[in-house]
């Protein structure tokens, strides 16, 4: 009996380790479609819908460096001069009327459906661990289904179900859950294009599961690979930005 128990435990742990190892590999490949260069600048349009009617549209520019640093610049007339800095899961907003960076929590939403975490958090591989990998067909495509748990308690979504295509590990969809277990958002990765010789995500849709009939489309309009200095990701440098 003891032997069976030991063998079962060993099998379970091995499976988890295998899943984690394979899952990590899949996540790293899949993240490359969303974070294709070591550092780059991307222009975004975020459009909010309610009952399929357009409610709001926002234009942004985002500097991304590595997996954990991003600087968002708001372009619309009523938000000109506003910036959002994200270092891992720590966030600061800078507004021209207050003239100082303000520390904010992940849930302080500024963009309608897309919380700050969604906008700036481009990758899963650095913030999540894959605890299981299974296979599923989604929309006629053979996919891996990964169960992800956040690697630290500061991550906006503590649990994620993530589907990627089996062959290319292209992101297909994701279900996002808060620490409380609440199903918060559904994401579909809608469109990919060749940009600077890399297949890159150009459109994703976020559905709010708490507020029915609301969704947001994020379009990645233009990518520009660039070398970015560290000071752009220092909170106090926000006061130098215009």
């Amino acid at each position: 009996m003891k032997k069976i128990f030991l063998l079962s435990t060993l099998f379970l742990v091995s499976t988890m380790l295998f899943a984690e190892d394979k899952g990590s590999q899949i996540l790293r490949i899949s993240d490359q479609y969303r974070n294709a260069w070591p550092s780059f600048v991307v222009r975004l349009r975020i459009t909010s819908f309610k009952n399929d009617k357009q409610k709001n549209a926002r234009n942004l520019e985002v500097m991304v460096k590595g997996d954990k640093k991003s600087l968002v610049r708001f372009l619309d007339p009523d938000q000109k001069g506003q910036y959002l800095l994200m270092l891992e899961d720590n966030m600061w907003i800078f507004a021209p009327n207050t003239r100082r960076p303000i520390r904010i929590s992940p849930l302080q939403r500024l963009l309608g459906e897309a919380s700050n975490g969604d906008v700036a958090d481009i990758t899963f591989s650095e913030n999540y661990n894959a605890t299981s990998v299974s296979e599923e067909t989604v929309g006629g495509r053979e996919c891996f289904r990964l169960e992800l748990t956040a690697s630290n308690d500061k991550t906006t979504y503590q649990r994620v179900e993530y589907w990627v295509t089996k062959i290319e590990s292209l992101p297909v969809k994701a279900e996002l859950y808060l620490a409380s277990g609440k199903h918060y958002k559904s994401v579909t990765y809608d469109e990919f294009k060749m940009i600077h010789n890399r297949l890159t995500l150009t459109q994703m849709t976020l559905h709010d599961r708490l507020r029915n009939n609301s969704h947001t489309i994020m379009e990645f309009l233009e990518y520009e690979p660039q070398t970015l200095q560290e000071k752009y990701f220092n909170k106090n440098y926000l006061t130098q930005l215009k």
């Binding site: 550092s39 600048v41 222009r43 909010s48 309610k50 409610k55 709001n56 520019e61 500097m63 610049r73 619309d76 007339p77 009523d78 938000q79 000109k80 001069g81 270092l87 720590n90 966030m91 507004a95 021209p96 009327n97 207050t98 003239r99 100082r100 303000i102 520390r103 904010i104 929590s105 992940p106 849930l107 302080q108 939403r109 309608g112 308690d153 500061k154 906006t156 808060l178 620490a179 609440k182 708490l210 233009e222 520009e224 660039q226 070398t227 970015l228 200095q229 560290e230 000071k231 752009y232 220092n234 909170k235 106090n236 440098y237 006061t239 130098q240 215009k242």
Partner: protein, 427 residues
């Protein structure tokens, strides 16, 4: 004179050359002219308070109606930044008043990858608090009832600043001088400030030092921290040994029916070894719905006690009555008005609380602010409804209710309620 002009031209030319030569990885429109323009119009109606300090609105006439129109232009081209504002104020009591304000005009340029130099007039904000900023040693004066500066009132200070950035740290050195313009520009009091910032274990920490000519050296710190998805905490603390604060001489006298003449103020604690400090503790919580609640507690050791306040009030009311006598006592006029001028716009006493509830929706926002004196339980309630017509145009309806007993800090102010209707156009 010619040599001075030549030198200024050379220095300016150097700045211009450095600005043109500056090229770094940045956003798409780097090197292009960036601008922001906003035009604001706000109309205010006030219901006056029947406070004994201003019976029948005679001694300190307050307008029941006024309106403000302003236009603010912000320009940035490479290293040069300009922010200029034009105001037109219309009041039932006075002729229209037109003025312009140079909010900012400065040159900011990097020296290498880690250092930034700034010269000119710039708005600096160092505090982490929302309504109160004790560590804002180089900040412009703030209205605690309007922390987000909806009317663009902040104005920069002439500074020379050096910022150094490395990793999650930065060091800022500031020299400031409020230049005097009396026929020709002259230096006023020298002022130095230093801030060391570090982001350690997910906590923003800033250590701050401040020195100004003829004032006490101050040291302090501020922090900010986020816990989980919902909760953010912040604090500020600044202290000095002794105090240069000016106190009205009436506060020290047992009798309030006195005439002080020209000798109105005293620096009571100049030589004191006591620690005078200001403390701010604040938190904000955001619910899943987006509702944000914020609360702050502010303490100022140098503020007036309840006894000080009562004494000040008795003195001021005495002279107010003397003025209303027939014939009025002429000597009481300066005593009365000078006493009113001793009140600090940040609050004259020691313990204050601030509460804010804000619910942002796509098209509109609802805000409720409560600012209060925690000792005499007086305060202001400010509800605001704001609406976004489109990305260029938004408006607001804001009202203020001053509550408190007649002898309280907010209860004795000249306004009982006010209503503001405003609109802002942005490009």
């Amino acid at each position: 004179m010619k040599a001075k002009s030549f030198l200024i031209s050379v220095v300016f030319g150097q700045f211009l050359f450095l600005s043109l030569a500056w090229s770094q990885g940045t956003f798409k429109d780097h090197g292009k002219l960036r601008y922001r323009f906003s035009a604001i119009h706000e109309t205010q109606y006030q219901q006056l308070n029947s406070t004994p300090l201003n019976v029948d609105n005679e001694l300190v006439p307050q307008p029941r109606y006024n309106s403000l129109s302003s236009a603010d232009l912000f320009l940035n081209w490479r290293a040069f930044t300009l922010d200029i504002k034009a105001n037109a104020l219309f009041s039932e009591l006075e002729d229209a008043n037109y003025e312009y304000t140079l909010r900012e005009l400065y040159f900011g340029h990097p020296l290498g990858d880690h250092v930034q130099v700034t010269v000119g007039r710039k708005i600096l904000k160092w505090g982490t608090g929302f309504a109160f900023n004790p560590t804002g040693v180089v900040e412009p004066a703030k209205d605690a009832g309007d922390p987000s500066d909806r009317l663009n009132r902040f104005q920069g200070r002439p500074i020379v600043a050096l910022d150094t950035y490395w990793g999650n740290h930065s060091l800022t050195l500031v020299y400031a001088n409020e230049l005097k313009s009396e026929g020709r520009i002259r230096l006023a009091s020298d002022e130095l400030a230093v801030k060391f910032y570090s982001f350690i274990k997910d906590v923003d920490v800033s250590l701050i030092g401040h020195w100004k000519e003829k004032e006490k050296v101050k040291f302090g710190f501020n922090t900010a921290y986020v816990y989980g998805d919902h909760l953010a905490l912040h604090s500020e603390f600044i202290a000095q040994v002794g105090s240069n604060e000016l106190y009205h001489r009436a506060l020290d006298r047992a009798d309030h029916e006195i005439f002080l003449g020209d000798s109105l103020f005293t620096v009571k604690y100049q030589s004191s070894k006591r620690l005078f400090y200001e403390l701010l503790l604040g938190m904000q919580y955001t619910f899943d719905s987006g509702l944000n609640l914020m609360a702050e507690y502010f303490y100022d050791r140098a503020g007036l006690t309840s006894d000080n306040w009562s004494q000040w009030r008795r003195f001021t009311l005495f002279h107010q009555k003397q003025i209303r006598e027939l014939p009025p006592n002429e000597a009481s006029f300066p005593e009365f008005y000078n006493a009113l001028n001793t009140l600090s716009p940040d609050g004259a006493m020691r313990h204050y609380g601030f509460f804010r509830a804000y619910l942002p929706k796509r098209k509109f926002g609802l805000e409720l602010i409560l600012l209060g004196n925690l000792v005499d339980r007086s305060g202001i309630l400010i509800p605001t409804f704001s609406y976004s017509f489109n990305s260029h145009l938004n408006g607001w309806l804001r009202s203020s209710y001053f509550e408190g007993q007649e002898n309280s800090e907010f209860g004795m102010l000249f306004t009982k309620t006010s209503l503001e209707l405003g609109v802002k156009l942005s490009f």
